[in-house]
Symmetry: D2
Subunit: 197 residues, 4 copies
């Protein structure tokens, strides 16, 4: 994905693909924030970023929950949050991150989405995804799931049950992650870019 | 709220308030569908319709679940679904209505929202609202809650516990319903009207 | 699983394995009720019944939602409900079944559990399982999940995504079903048998 | 509620009301753990403790999340967890507490219940209660709600919307808290006391 700097250069040289003059606005940002211990959620976050980055006209910022800056949250057009499943809930770190968001209307109408990884099948992945979406609704965000009904609530990966073994997450889950990133980026262009808050 | 006919007349005489020429497109439709037994949910549906109807440039259609036509679902820009709480779930009638929606991509990116009435406080109202939103996510809809954190998941009314007595639903709940309708209509204009599917 | 008649015979001949004299009480009943269209949920229901039936001292009754009798619901010590995923919710038939339960305290303290089958991974299976448990809580039931954290909310089967193909449901899911039935039956003996309502 | 010491004295003098000789076992413990900032959740926790303490034969331990000892969690027959609503989720402190529970089967078959306080009506109270119950199911706990359908998911209090004002929480909520504590204590006696793990 492109950095802010690269994006700025591209805009200065070629103009803003979302239509406005480059000196007036920058590309809308899709911010992807994750917490990861084993690396699985980081891997899925990377897939989400690749998907979002495949859409021309948005800027993608990928951060761990300890790296992300509050100004990045404030200025993002979309926020996609990922966490491992911790006993059917988000990690305390991700919950603390969500609790740090401004409650002054800044988050209102931003697009929100979620992803997660968990050890077993039906072992909390759905509850964590919708849990993140529910929190986003409290902030007035507009929330979406993935590309089709198999990823209705965002994107999830199963890492250690039945046919799913430890190691890199299965292709079926990485594809869901990419599709989620792409969908959110497309919605940002369609719903957000022409309507800066 | 205005009927389709009235809307058409207004558009022919004065042009489309959403910007395009009247003969090219009609106003985007906010479709409100409810099931009601005691009348409480119908009452809240009416409040939602008043709120949506207060926004110029959208057409509001209010239907009970037995009246609504599948073509109305297909052509709506937003669908707001309401049901009484039935044992922490939607009514079977509303579930059957949701199951009747086309699964061919028609619903994708429509805006979705929910409202409900229940007898007691914390007696299933939240679970029903998010349950409707979860189903909408399966269809690829973009879902939103109400105006602020006190109606984060749509709009709900408590009809028979503590300070809330049988009879017309309390003003605090009617106001949430109105605000929900208004918000969805505004989002339709902002996110949808310029981007017909 | 044994029928009521066989159970009665066994009790008359050999006495009640739960300790009391046979003429005083019958074995506590684990009632399994399901709705199935493609046959997948029926198959998982069968696995649940096999698991419950492996526990000596309980009687297992397996019924489709159209066969079950209200007296069977009333007299059961445990009720395990299964449904396919319908757009992140239970089927209208199962919702109607739940809504038919007596609201007079009869269900209070019965043990409740849930199972489901769905096409995709993280495509509503968790939401359906917990949705059933939430409805059971409204009736005052004591609810439990499966044998371990991979079946925390009951038992689920994925029937048509990634490594899971149409046809008989995968062994990993049938084992979860069996373990759920066994666990509920054991809890009935431990928590219920000595404490008839 | 009685302290451990008082309980011990009573048992030594009068015998164990749950049936066994006093020197063989102590009364089963209902452990109530809460996190509170404004004091509302502490107040509701107190009501839960009063309710549990009204049942003869159980010992009640009331702790804030920072006071509770892991040995108290391990030896409890029931754990009732309370938290304010934080953006439709439990507080990070309560999530961290849940994540600290032993995952070695110790929690299995303990009785679990939940309570919460939130500012508004339908503003996350249900989602927090069921969220705690879902986490408990991951640990194999047997979960229950409150006394009737108006407190189906435990006990909740609304602290600052409509007719509910800041200050002591409304009587309707304190009564739900008391009834929850009483119900859990009664279930412990019925389901647990004769069946120590």
């Amino acid at each position: 994905m492109r950095t802010r700097l690269t994006s700025l250069l591209i805009f200065c040289l070629f103009g803003d693909p979302t239509g406005g003059p480059a000196w007036q606005k920058t590309a809308p940002v899709v911010l992807i924030v994750y917490y990861s211990e084993s690396g699985h959620t980081r891997e899925l976050a990377g897939a989400v970023a690749i998907g979002a980055g495949s859409v021309k006209g948005v800027e993608v910022i990928l951060r761990s929950v300890s790296e992300v800056d509050s100004s990045e949250v404030r200025s993002a057009a979309a926020v996609i949050v990922g966490t491992p499943v911790f006993n059917a809930a988000v990690s305390p770190q991700v919950q603390a991150f969500v609790n740090s968001w401004p409650f002054d209307g800044t988050m209102k109408n931003k697009i929100g989405a979620a992803f997660t990884t968990g050890g077993g099948i039906s072992a909390g992945e759905e509850l964590v995804q919708v849990g993140i979406l529910h929190s986003m609704l409290v902030f007035g965000m507009v929330v979406v799931g993935g590309e089709d009904w198999t990823s209705a609530f965002g994107a999830s990966g199963v890492t250690n049950e039945g046919p799913f073994h430890k190691g890199p997450i299965d292709k079926v889950f990485r594809e869901k992650g990419q599709a989620l990133g792409k969908r959110v980026a497309e919605l940002v262009l369609r719903f957000w870019a022409g309507n800066p808050q």
